[in-house]
Symmetry: C2
Subunit: 120 residues, 2 copies
């Protein structure tokens, strides 16, 4: 993603009318789980409690009606976890959407940033 | 803004690298102040405390380095308030940005929504 230093940045949350929301926090957690292959390790890297991470995963499972993360060694994931194909697809599509919105909005973002009077 | 019923919706927050953020809550507050001509009335309409509303306005003043709201009858705005030209411009440009991002992202939003399995 192209990103100039100091340039204003978009944060995007998608609200699935009555089915929950997906935003930067959940996407970051999914990425962390993919990298760390563990919900607990991903939570730790985000300084988030395991309980909170598990809750966010559970919310996404409910939003999409299917699991976004697959855990090994039974119900407790401390043994390991990975994204399901659905979870990986959500991350990829969110990233595409964010990049598209950011690149299409650059002019508008710059106009807003131009309203800022620098501190002197 | 075109908005299909039940269609996923974008929430956009703009992060001005180190200078604060503008998102739906602050924009809604500015709109409310413009309509109600009062910070207190706008806060009430949003079920937000007066103190919280004032804090958000103050944050925006600091982000932009100039006032976004002008109050009458001295420091306490209970007498009346209105957006400065800067405040009005922020609302307008945010709205343009949101509409552009939403319309440019429609395909991607639909792809994400298509991953949802309807509850049955």
């Amino acid at each position: 993603m192209k990103q100039r230093d100091g340039a204003p940045r978009l944060w995007i949350k998608i609200d699935f009318a009555g089915r929950g929301q997906i935003g930067p926090g959940k996407i970051r957690l999914l990425r962390g789980i993919a990298e760390q292959r563990s919900i607990a390790a991903a939570a730790r890297a985000m300084e988030m409690s395991y309980r909170r991470a598990w809750l966010l995963v559970d919310q996404m499972n409910k939003t999409f009606g299917r699991p976004v993360v697959q855990t090994h060694t039974g119900g407790n994931d401390r043994g390991g976890a990975e994204l399901t194909p659905l979870g990986a697809e959500i991350v990829a599509r969110y990233q595409q959407l964010l990049e598209r919105a950011q690149s299409q909005s650059d002019g508008k973002l710059d106009e807003l940033a131009a309203l800022i009077r620098p501190a002197d």
